[in-house]
Symmetry: C2
Subunit: 227 residues, 2 copies
DNA sequence: GAATCCATAAATGTTGACATTTTTCTCAAA
DNA sequence: TTTGAGAAAAATGTCAACATTTATGGATTC
């Protein structure tokens, strides 16, 4: 555990202390600064972050809602452990939600939003030409997928993915280099997805997205030994 | 609002006060005892339930994670309002998640679990023959769908549905008689779903479940005027 | 009569202390 | 050495009071 109060200084100020703590702890968990499986002692953390236990406990309840920690009454909270099983289940869930999201996006996105998608994958293309390494940068990949999800205009799907799935996937990718967004294939698939949206073809969009995520899942399953 | 502490006496005791409060408030919101859009005043509720604001606030953070309330910093929490838009988005989300769940269930369910599914729909069949009213009882319908979801063995999908989707759908159905599980068609569709699982045919199971939920969605969309 | 400002009231955010449960450590006995 | 009981320590659960922000209401002005 050591001293994970270090990140707190960098955190942008939110409206309430509890909300700030939530963001700080979320980031510390995603990056692994607080390791998987760590017991989150309220008393120790309250001292480290120099806050009282009230707001801290509220932040823990929120992180529980994000699937980032598990809480057992009378025993406390632990950071989630990313087992091979959980990762694959996350990708199955993502496949279901995000393929539906892109089908809706094909109907509901504005042409302006589609333009933004183009700009994002053009940037990806440029970065991959410049850097010899054939990887879509993680941040850009997240932006792309979040733009699609927001384009669905479905707040329930949006919240489920962004609030409860993506954080865990980010955590996994941040802490496992081999999980990174991979080859030029991803960029090609991104182009296919945008094409389907542009054609206002929800079925094509859904199939294309499904394949994109299944590919990612397969890549991960292959590279992951037992865990 | 009036006196929504009445239900608290019926609540089964959980391990912590905060967890009890969460369940009590969840039920009160689902039944409409606390009406949609109601401002949830911490001070008033603390008095009514005779608890301090600490555990109450933690319960509110959890209900927020269940999509049952919305919280605005420095302003407080309100019970969610079930707009026509939100209901349809819930059903779209459910369609995506539950059709994936049943596909997984077709692969992962034990034959013992499938037997339980049979018992449940047999009970539904019996109840519909006895009561002239051609409705699948809501509680039995929930049990059926939850058994399927658990059968997927995917904890992420299970939590998303049970924790964040079903509560809102229960709330909608409880507060709108017209939203009830409808005709004999539902029972037939349940039988088709069990058949597909029994055949270990994930694709058939997925298509069948998707149709089942789309039908429910269409029924609701028809019966709902603007909102 | 409507709008604005200020004082008051009330609500949310935060804190530190108390209560109860769980964990840890010590010491004795098998 | 290992096991078990019991006391001590530490952790989680809960409460009541304080701080700060937001909402309310009446008086004043236009």
């Amino acid at each position: 555990m050591s001293d994970f109060a270090t990140l707190s200084s960098v955190t942008h100020s939110s409206s309430t202390l509890s909300a700030e703590l939530t963001n700080t702890l979320r980031d510390a968990i995603i990056t692994g600064e607080i390791a998987q499986g760590t017991k989150l002692s309220e008393t120790k953390m309250a001292k480290e972050f120099d806050v009282s236990r009230g707001p801290l406990r509220e932040a823990l309840r929120r992180l529980e809602g994000m699937n980032l920690i598990m809480h057992i009454p009378q025993q406390g909270a632990r950071v989630v452990t990313l087992s091979r099983e959980l990762i694959l289940q996350l990708y199955d869930t993502r496949e279901a939600l995000e393929s539906k999201a892109v089908a809706l996006a094909a109907v509901n996105m504005t042409s302006q939003e589609i333009d933004e998608l183009h700009r994002e994958i053009d940037a990806q293309s440029k970065q991959m030409r410049e850097n010899s390494g054939a990887f879509v940068p993680a941040e850009s990949d997240y932006r792309f997928h979040e733009m699609v999800v927001r384009g669905s205009k479905n707040k329930v799907i949006e919240r489920a993915l962004i609030h409860e799935i993506y954080n865990l996937i980010k955590m996994f990718r941040y802490q496992n280099e081999f999980a990174n967004t991979s080859s030029t294939n991803s960029l090609i698939e991104h182009r296919q997805i945008v094409y389907a949206i542009e054609q206002r073809d929800p079925i094509l969009a859904e199939v294309t997205m499904k394949r994109h995520i299944v590919h990612a899942r397969e890549r991960i399953e292959r590279r992951m030994s037992a865990n």
